[in-house]
Amino acid sequence: MSQKIKAAIIGPGNIGTDLLYKALRSEHIEPVLMIGVDPDSEGLKRAAALGLQVCAEGVNGALAQVRQLGIQIAFDATSAYAHKANCELLNPLGVTMVDLTPAAIGPFCIPPVNLDRLNPAELDNVNMVTCGGQATIPMVAAVSQVQKVSYGEIIATVSSRSVGPGTRQNIDEFTRTTASAVESVGGADQGKAIIIINPAEPPLIMRDTVHCLCADTPDQQAITQSVLTMLEKVQAYVPGYRLKNGPVFDGNKVSIYLEVEGRGDFLPHYAGNLDIMTAAGLHTAELIAQYKQG
């Protein structure tokens, strides 16, 4: 098979490290560089121990390594604010950004819904929406692929331990970005997103509810089939993605109850919300890599 595409990960925190563990198993991506800002960070040490080059001086300090290593894809697991600058530095070097922050500079990507519609040749940045979006928008799309959805609403419930300070400081960004992608990617005319943080111990596994209001009477058989097909597509890269109940039909309303258990690579099993982000990011990068491999 053709040579793997070399990748960098920016941000050696929990997300970046979990992504690294997953990427080390990839057939198309070879993670070779971890970029952070703190030389004492555990994440950088861990990456070095796994054989990656590391840089503790941010993206600005890593440009020579990026060129020298021939990096073509960079995962950004920092913050929306930092992402903009990182993107401006790396795009000119021909690096495609897979953005796990809520910056949303590039088009939204929910892999089983719209990855095949994004043109890898023209793509220099792709945004992974939010954890709640990755978990629920496939199901909004599963319904809207059958018939018109006039309103789509998602409720993501996540364990307190799995929500980092960045999300907490700007929780509105989650609700806005997710609602926007429920519309633009999920295909609902109007979207709404709600996030609930639960501190129970032991931590609860990520739960998601999807409600769709169809414009007409739901075709129960076709929607159920579409939901089950979509379930398999997501399970291909997130094995712990489960349909708990539904689709339940009540008038024009379709309700789908989901649970997302993480794979437990670096992050704990309950943090399915983080796992689905890293898995979707890697899945997206692998498709871009296959294009780059030719």
């Binding site: 309103y151 609403e153 409720i155 419930t157 307190s160 300070p165 907490r168 400081q169 700007n170 929780i171 509105d172 989650f174 609700t175 806005r176 709404k192 709600i194 996030i195 609930i196 943080i197 639960n198 501190p199 129970a200 111990e201 609860l204 739960r207 509810t209 409600h211 209001l213 708990k244 109940n245 539904g246 339940v248 309303k253 309700s255 109850y257």
Partner: protein
Amino acid sequence: MNLKDKSVILHDMSLRDGMHAKRHQISLAQMVDIATGLDAAGMPLIEVTHGDGLGGASLNYGFPAHGDEEYLSAVIPKMQQAKVSALLLPGIGTVDHLRMAKDLGVSTIRVATHCTEADVSEQHIGLSAKLGLDTVGFLMMAHMVSAEKLLEQAKLMEAYGANCIYCTDSAGYMLPDEVSHKIGLLRSELGSQTEIGFHGHHNLAMGVANSLAAIEAGAKRIDGSVAGLGAGAGNTPLEVLVAVLERMGARHGIDLYKIMDVAEDLVVPMMDQPIRVDRDALTLGYAGVYSSFLLFAKRAEARHGVSARDILVELGKRGTVGGQEDMIEDLALDMANQGKLSRP
């Protein structure tokens, strides 16, 4: 207990928490009538919002008869002396809703989080304070943590800019000793300029007793609801609290007969069901479950044949928090599938 000459600011919840009991279907005319009656009775502060706060309109919590903007626009211009507050739960509502409420003339924004998650409120409390609004940090389900943990979270909200912090008994689970202890610690450790508030639910019929304990321990603001109209067995019934405060010689500024009349003539006639400590509401208080789950659990019982009490007890065991209404249907389906049917 001596509350003589203690000064209390009462805050009516009937048009916000009461929205839960009315499945968010209060009409504009009812809102205006009740608010006008409360205004005339001397109520200083009235909350007007979807039961789940600004932006709560949803399939998950219920679509209201009218949007927050319509309710606020209808009520605020009619007030002679009363100010109007709006509730905001980060994760449901956003700063856009907050700005809308400010533009419509609310005096007070109350930013509510679960009692361990205060740090999601920084942007909303910060903006509200910056806009010059009376800014309240509202720590829900406060029975689930120790007084020390509650204080730690209260200090976060205070640092973000809140000038008042609430200990919120969303489940109506607390008993007076616990209220005294928590309010007392908040009072002694928060800044002297920061006011302390208490929000009770009447699921164990402790609304009035807990409110008195809160006042004695240093709370300045007390939430209640005229005729108790609110989630679960309702909020602390305000006309009852006013009568008790009157007898104790506390300063509350409310005309007792006028508020009794609002309760009897306006609020009780519009109730869809009696607001009382029925079996399921009692279970909320006994098991420590978020009060607005009540009607959702009753509906799930009717739909799936699983007892509402069993659903609520299980939700309590799982440490469910406010806002997780979607768990109720999911859990009821699980229980029905497992054959836990309690009704023929």
